[in-house]
Protein backbone atom coordinates (compact mmCIF):
# COMPACT_ATOMS: atom_id res chain seq x y z
CA UNK A 1 0.00 0.00 0.00
CA UNK A 2 1.30 3.43 -0.90
CA UNK A 3 1.68 6.26 1.60
CA UNK A 4 -1.05 8.24 -0.18
CA UNK A 5 -3.54 5.38 0.14
CA UNK A 6 -2.67 4.94 3.81
CA UNK A 7 -3.04 8.68 4.40
CA UNK A 8 -6.51 8.54 2.88
CA UNK A 9 -7.50 5.69 5.22
CA UNK A 10 -6.04 7.66 8.15
CA UNK A 11 -7.95 10.84 7.26
CA UNK A 12 -11.22 8.95 6.71
CA UNK A 13 -11.11 7.08 10.01
CA UNK A 14 -9.17 9.34 12.40
CA UNK A 15 -12.11 11.20 13.98
CA UNK A 16 -14.24 8.13 14.72
CA UNK A 17 -11.30 6.12 16.10
CA UNK A 18 -10.31 9.06 18.30
CA UNK A 19 -13.88 9.25 19.68
CA UNK A 20 -13.83 5.50 20.36
CA UNK A 21 -10.53 5.81 22.22
CA UNK A 22 -11.89 8.79 24.20
CA UNK A 23 -14.61 6.45 25.46
CA UNK A 24 -11.97 4.03 26.75
CA UNK A 25 -9.95 6.72 28.56
CA UNK A 26 -12.78 8.70 30.19
CA UNK A 27 -12.59 11.54 27.69
CA UNK A 28 -8.88 12.30 28.19
CA UNK A 29 -7.98 13.80 24.79
CA UNK A 30 -4.19 13.45 25.09
CA UNK A 31 -4.38 9.79 26.09
CA UNK A 32 -6.93 9.16 23.35
CA UNK A 33 -4.65 10.77 20.73
CA UNK A 34 -1.75 8.54 21.81
CA UNK A 35 -4.00 5.49 21.58
CA UNK A 36 -5.27 6.55 18.16
CA UNK A 37 -1.71 6.86 16.92
CA UNK A 38 -0.98 3.37 18.28
CA UNK A 39 -4.04 2.05 16.42
CA UNK A 40 -2.87 3.45 13.09
CA UNK A 41 0.67 2.14 13.61
CA UNK A 42 -0.92 -1.30 13.98
CA UNK A 43 -3.11 -0.71 10.94
CA UNK A 44 0.03 0.06 8.91
CA UNK A 45 1.92 -2.94 10.29
CA UNK A 46 -0.97 -5.34 9.63
CA UNK A 47 -2.37 -3.97 6.40
CA UNK A 48 -1.00 -6.96 4.47
CA UNK A 49 -3.25 -9.28 6.48
CA UNK A 50 -6.42 -7.36 5.51
CA UNK A 51 -8.33 -9.69 3.17
CA UNK A 52 -11.07 -7.30 2.09
CA UNK A 53 -13.72 -9.71 3.44
CA UNK A 54 -15.13 -6.79 5.38
CA UNK A 55 -15.12 -3.05 5.09
CA UNK A 56 -11.73 -1.49 5.96
CA UNK A 57 -13.36 0.64 8.66
CA UNK A 58 -14.79 -2.51 10.32
CA UNK A 59 -11.30 -4.00 10.29
CA UNK A 60 -9.85 -0.80 11.80
CA UNK A 61 -12.52 -0.83 14.53
CA UNK A 62 -11.39 -4.34 15.48
CA UNK A 63 -7.80 -3.17 15.78
CA UNK A 64 -8.89 -0.10 17.73
CA UNK A 65 -10.94 -2.02 20.30
CA UNK A 66 -8.20 -4.64 20.74
CA UNK A 67 -5.58 -1.90 21.14
CA UNK A 68 -7.76 -0.23 23.78
CA UNK A 69 -8.00 -3.57 25.61
CA UNK A 70 -4.20 -3.85 25.71
CA UNK A 71 -3.96 -0.28 26.96
CA UNK A 72 -5.99 -1.18 30.08
CA UNK A 73 -2.79 -2.75 31.41
CA UNK A 74 -0.92 0.54 31.30
CA UNK A 75 -3.83 2.66 32.39
CA UNK A 76 -3.08 4.68 35.52
CA UNK A 77 -5.68 4.12 38.22
CA UNK A 78 -6.93 7.62 37.50
CA UNK A 79 -10.58 8.26 38.17
CA UNK A 80 -12.52 10.73 36.13
CA UNK A 81 -11.63 14.04 37.77
CA UNK A 82 -14.89 15.72 38.74
CA UNK A 83 -13.12 18.48 40.66
CA UNK A 84 -10.93 19.64 37.80
CA UNK A 85 -13.76 19.61 35.31
CA UNK A 86 -16.12 21.39 37.68
CA UNK A 87 -13.63 24.23 38.22
CA UNK A 88 -13.17 24.50 34.49
CA UNK A 89 -16.87 24.49 33.83
CA UNK A 90 -17.56 27.31 36.29
CA UNK A 91 -15.68 29.75 34.09
CA UNK A 92 -17.75 29.03 31.00
CA UNK A 93 -21.13 30.24 29.83
CA UNK A 94 -24.25 28.53 31.08
CA UNK A 95 -25.12 26.68 27.84
CA UNK A 96 -21.55 25.40 27.50
CA UNK A 97 -21.59 24.47 31.17
CA UNK A 98 -24.67 22.30 30.71
CA UNK A 99 -23.17 20.60 27.65
CA UNK A 100 -19.85 19.97 29.37
CA UNK A 101 -21.65 18.57 32.40
CA UNK A 102 -23.52 16.21 30.07
CA UNK A 103 -20.23 15.08 28.46
CA UNK A 104 -18.74 14.63 31.90
CA UNK A 105 -21.69 12.45 32.98
CA UNK A 106 -21.59 10.52 29.70
CA UNK A 107 -17.89 9.61 30.02
CA UNK A 108 -18.24 8.84 33.73
CA UNK A 109 -21.08 6.41 32.99
CA UNK A 110 -19.34 4.79 29.99
CA UNK A 111 -16.29 4.31 32.20
CA UNK A 112 -18.37 2.20 34.61
CA UNK A 113 -19.05 -0.44 31.93
CA UNK A 114 -17.00 -3.58 31.38
CA UNK A 115 -14.34 -3.50 28.62
CA UNK A 116 -16.54 -5.47 26.18
CA UNK A 117 -19.72 -3.50 26.90
CA UNK A 118 -17.78 -0.26 26.51
CA UNK A 119 -16.73 -1.33 23.01
CA UNK A 120 -20.27 -2.34 22.07
CA UNK A 121 -21.93 0.87 23.23
CA UNK A 122 -19.21 3.12 21.77
CA UNK A 123 -19.84 1.57 18.35
CA UNK A 124 -23.60 1.85 18.84
CA UNK A 125 -23.13 5.56 19.65
CA UNK A 126 -21.10 5.90 16.44
CA UNK A 127 -24.08 4.49 14.58
CA UNK A 128 -22.61 1.16 13.43
CA UNK A 129 -25.11 -1.53 12.45
CA UNK A 130 -25.62 -4.21 15.11
CA UNK A 131 -24.57 -6.87 12.61
CA UNK A 132 -21.27 -5.08 12.10
CA UNK A 133 -20.77 -4.69 15.86
CA UNK A 134 -21.39 -8.43 16.24
CA UNK A 135 -18.75 -9.20 13.59
CA UNK A 136 -16.19 -6.93 15.25
CA UNK A 137 -16.82 -8.31 18.74
CA UNK A 138 -17.12 -11.97 17.68
CA UNK A 139 -20.58 -12.25 19.24
CA UNK A 140 -23.92 -13.39 17.81
CA UNK A 141 -26.20 -10.68 16.46
CA UNK A 142 -28.90 -11.63 18.97
CA UNK A 143 -26.43 -11.43 21.88
CA UNK A 144 -25.35 -7.95 20.78
CA UNK A 145 -28.96 -6.77 20.54
CA UNK A 146 -29.70 -8.00 24.08
CA UNK A 147 -26.52 -6.46 25.43
CA UNK A 148 -27.18 -3.11 23.79
CA UNK A 149 -30.65 -3.02 25.32
CA UNK A 150 -29.20 -3.77 28.76
CA UNK A 151 -26.34 -1.24 28.41
CA UNK A 152 -28.75 1.48 27.27
CA UNK A 153 -30.78 1.02 30.46
CA UNK A 154 -27.62 0.99 32.54
CA UNK A 155 -26.36 4.22 30.94
CA UNK A 156 -29.70 5.96 31.22
CA UNK A 157 -29.96 5.10 34.91
CA UNK A 158 -26.39 6.24 35.47
CA UNK A 159 -26.75 9.66 33.79
CA UNK A 160 -29.94 10.22 35.77
CA UNK A 161 -27.97 9.37 38.95
CA UNK A 162 -30.45 6.60 39.86
Amino acid sequence: MSETEFKQIYNDNYARILRLCMGYVSGDTDLAKDLTQEVFIKVWNNIKTFRKESNISTWIYRIAINTCLISLRNKKSKRFSDTLLTEDILQKEEATQIKEKQYQDMYRCINKLSATNKGIILMELEGLAQKEIAAIMGLKHEAVRTRIHRIKNQLTKCVNHE
Binding site: A15, R19, F40, K42, R62, N66, L72, R73, G138, T156
Partner: protein, 183 residues
Protein backbone atom coordinates in the same frame (compact mmCIF):
# COMPACT_ATOMS: atom_id res chain seq x y z
CA UNK B 1 -36.18 12.37 22.98
CA UNK B 2 -35.45 9.67 25.55
CA UNK B 3 -32.33 9.68 27.72
CA UNK B 4 -30.31 7.34 25.54
CA UNK B 5 -31.13 9.34 22.43
CA UNK B 6 -29.89 12.43 24.27
CA UNK B 7 -26.63 10.64 25.09
CA UNK B 8 -26.35 9.60 21.44
CA UNK B 9 -26.99 13.12 20.20
CA UNK B 10 -24.41 14.48 22.68
CA UNK B 11 -21.96 11.92 21.39
CA UNK B 12 -22.45 13.04 17.80
CA UNK B 13 -22.26 16.72 18.72
CA UNK B 14 -18.72 16.36 20.01
CA UNK B 15 -16.36 18.51 17.96
CA UNK B 16 -14.98 16.50 15.06
CA UNK B 17 -11.21 16.28 15.34
CA UNK B 18 -9.70 16.69 11.89
CA UNK B 19 -6.26 15.09 11.49
CA UNK B 20 -3.57 17.56 10.52
CA UNK B 21 -0.44 17.11 8.44
CA UNK B 22 1.51 17.22 11.72
CA UNK B 23 -0.58 14.32 13.10
CA UNK B 24 0.29 12.23 10.07
CA UNK B 25 4.01 13.10 10.30
CA UNK B 26 3.95 12.08 13.99
CA UNK B 27 2.37 8.81 12.95
CA UNK B 28 5.08 8.15 10.36
CA UNK B 29 7.76 8.87 12.98
CA UNK B 30 5.95 6.57 15.40
CA UNK B 31 6.11 3.73 12.86
CA UNK B 32 9.85 4.29 12.37
CA UNK B 33 10.61 4.69 16.11
CA UNK B 34 8.76 1.52 17.10
CA UNK B 35 11.21 -0.76 15.30
CA UNK B 36 14.12 1.27 16.69
CA UNK B 37 12.77 1.01 20.27
CA UNK B 38 12.41 -2.78 19.98
CA UNK B 39 16.01 -3.11 18.82
CA UNK B 40 17.29 -0.84 21.63
CA UNK B 41 15.30 -2.78 24.25
CA UNK B 42 16.79 -6.12 23.22
CA UNK B 43 20.25 -4.55 23.02
CA UNK B 44 20.06 -3.18 26.58
CA UNK B 45 18.96 -6.56 27.98
CA UNK B 46 21.66 -8.45 26.12
CA UNK B 47 24.40 -5.97 27.05
CA UNK B 48 23.56 -6.53 30.75
CA UNK B 49 24.43 -10.19 30.25
CA UNK B 50 27.52 -9.16 28.27
CA UNK B 51 28.77 -6.99 31.15
CA UNK B 52 28.35 -9.86 33.63
CA UNK B 53 30.16 -12.32 31.36
CA UNK B 54 32.94 -9.77 30.86
CA UNK B 55 33.19 -9.36 34.66
CA UNK B 56 33.32 -13.15 34.99
CA UNK B 57 36.28 -13.35 32.59
CA UNK B 58 37.94 -10.18 33.90
CA UNK B 59 38.25 -11.40 37.51
CA UNK B 60 39.39 -14.79 36.22
CA UNK B 61 36.53 -16.43 38.08
CA UNK B 62 37.19 -19.73 36.35
CA UNK B 63 40.36 -20.14 38.46
CA UNK B 64 38.31 -20.17 41.66
CA UNK B 65 35.83 -23.02 41.49
CA UNK B 66 33.38 -21.71 44.06
CA UNK B 67 33.37 -18.15 42.66
CA UNK B 68 32.94 -19.55 39.14
CA UNK B 69 29.90 -21.64 40.16
CA UNK B 70 28.27 -18.81 42.14
CA UNK B 71 28.80 -16.24 39.39
CA UNK B 72 27.74 -18.79 36.76
CA UNK B 73 24.48 -19.40 38.63
CA UNK B 74 23.86 -15.65 38.93
CA UNK B 75 24.47 -15.12 35.21
CA UNK B 76 22.29 -18.12 34.29
CA UNK B 77 19.39 -16.86 36.48
CA UNK B 78 19.61 -13.42 34.93
CA UNK B 79 19.96 -14.84 31.42
CA UNK B 80 16.88 -17.03 31.88
CA UNK B 81 14.83 -14.09 33.15
CA UNK B 82 15.94 -11.91 30.21
CA UNK B 83 15.05 -14.68 27.74
CA UNK B 84 11.60 -15.10 29.31
CA UNK B 85 11.06 -11.32 29.13
CA UNK B 86 12.05 -11.16 25.46
CA UNK B 87 9.80 -14.13 24.70
CA UNK B 88 6.90 -12.60 26.63
CA UNK B 89 7.27 -9.19 24.95
CA UNK B 90 7.35 -10.83 21.53
CA UNK B 91 4.30 -12.90 22.43
CA UNK B 92 2.26 -9.75 23.16
CA UNK B 93 3.60 -8.00 20.06
CA UNK B 94 2.69 -10.96 17.86
CA UNK B 95 -0.89 -11.37 19.11
CA UNK B 96 -3.08 -11.09 16.01
CA UNK B 97 -4.55 -7.68 16.61
CA UNK B 98 -7.11 -7.84 13.81
CA UNK B 99 -9.08 -10.85 15.08
CA UNK B 100 -12.53 -10.45 16.67
CA UNK B 101 -12.56 -8.97 20.14
CA UNK B 102 -13.86 -12.00 22.06
CA UNK B 103 -11.07 -14.14 20.61
CA UNK B 104 -8.49 -11.45 21.25
CA UNK B 105 -9.70 -10.98 24.82
CA UNK B 106 -9.25 -14.70 25.52
CA UNK B 107 -5.68 -14.54 24.18
CA UNK B 108 -4.98 -11.42 26.19
CA UNK B 109 -6.30 -13.06 29.37
CA UNK B 110 -3.95 -16.00 28.80
CA UNK B 111 -1.10 -13.56 28.30
CA UNK B 112 -1.85 -11.77 31.60
CA UNK B 113 -2.08 -15.11 33.37
CA UNK B 114 1.35 -16.05 32.00
CA UNK B 115 2.67 -12.68 33.26
CA UNK B 116 1.25 -13.50 36.71
CA UNK B 117 3.13 -16.78 36.62
CA UNK B 118 6.32 -15.01 35.56
CA UNK B 119 6.08 -12.32 38.28
CA UNK B 120 4.55 -14.50 41.00
CA UNK B 121 6.53 -17.74 40.68
CA UNK B 122 9.39 -17.72 38.19
CA UNK B 123 10.92 -14.35 39.13
CA UNK B 124 10.85 -14.94 42.93
CA UNK B 125 12.42 -18.41 42.42
CA UNK B 126 15.14 -16.95 40.18
CA UNK B 127 15.63 -14.07 42.62
CA UNK B 128 16.05 -16.54 45.50
CA UNK B 129 18.61 -18.55 43.49
CA UNK B 130 20.44 -15.34 42.49
CA UNK B 131 20.46 -14.07 46.11
CA UNK B 132 21.66 -17.42 47.46
CA UNK B 133 24.55 -17.53 44.95
CA UNK B 134 25.42 -13.95 45.89
CA UNK B 135 25.26 -14.80 49.58
CA UNK B 136 27.74 -17.66 49.13
CA UNK B 137 30.15 -15.15 47.56
CA UNK B 138 30.13 -12.88 50.62
CA UNK B 139 32.95 -14.70 52.51
CA UNK B 140 35.17 -14.29 49.43
CA UNK B 141 34.27 -10.60 49.24
CA UNK B 142 35.00 -10.20 52.97
CA UNK B 143 38.46 -11.70 52.55
CA UNK B 144 39.48 -9.73 49.49
CA UNK B 145 37.74 -6.35 49.94
CA UNK B 146 38.15 -3.51 52.46
CA UNK B 147 35.64 -3.47 55.35
CA UNK B 148 33.97 -0.29 54.06
CA UNK B 149 33.51 -1.60 50.55
CA UNK B 150 32.29 -4.96 51.85
CA UNK B 151 29.66 -3.22 54.01
CA UNK B 152 28.64 -1.09 51.07
CA UNK B 153 28.09 -4.20 48.92
CA UNK B 154 26.04 -5.95 51.63
CA UNK B 155 23.79 -2.96 52.41
CA UNK B 156 23.30 -1.84 48.85
CA UNK B 157 22.31 -5.40 47.89
CA UNK B 158 19.77 -5.51 50.70
CA UNK B 159 18.29 -2.19 49.60
CA UNK B 160 18.13 -3.45 46.01
CA UNK B 161 16.45 -6.66 47.15
CA UNK B 162 13.75 -4.75 49.06
CA UNK B 163 13.30 -2.40 46.09
CA UNK B 164 12.94 -5.36 43.73
CA UNK B 165 10.36 -7.04 45.98
CA UNK B 166 8.27 -3.85 45.90
CA UNK B 167 8.67 -3.72 42.12
CA UNK B 168 7.41 -7.30 41.86
CA UNK B 169 4.46 -6.52 44.10
CA UNK B 170 3.45 -3.57 41.89
CA UNK B 171 3.89 -5.61 38.70
CA UNK B 172 1.61 -8.38 40.03
CA UNK B 173 -0.93 -5.74 41.06
CA UNK B 174 -0.78 -4.24 37.56
CA UNK B 175 -1.43 -7.60 35.84
CA UNK B 176 -4.25 -8.38 38.28
CA UNK B 177 -5.87 -5.02 37.59
CA UNK B 178 -5.62 -5.59 33.83
CA UNK B 179 -7.22 -9.04 34.21
CA UNK B 180 -10.03 -7.60 36.31
CA UNK B 181 -10.68 -4.80 33.81
CA UNK B 182 -10.97 -7.38 31.02
CA UNK B 183 -13.65 -9.38 32.81
Amino acid sequence: MNDFERIKSNWKEQADQVPTEANFSELKNGIKNLAKKQRIGNLVLLSTIGVLVFFFIYIKAIEYRHVAIALGVMIAALFLRVLVEIFSMNHLRNLSIAIDTQNFKAKLENYYKSRMYIHGILTPVLLAIYSYAFWTLLPDFKMSLSKGFYNYIVWSSLVLLVFFCFFLFFQIRKELRALKELE
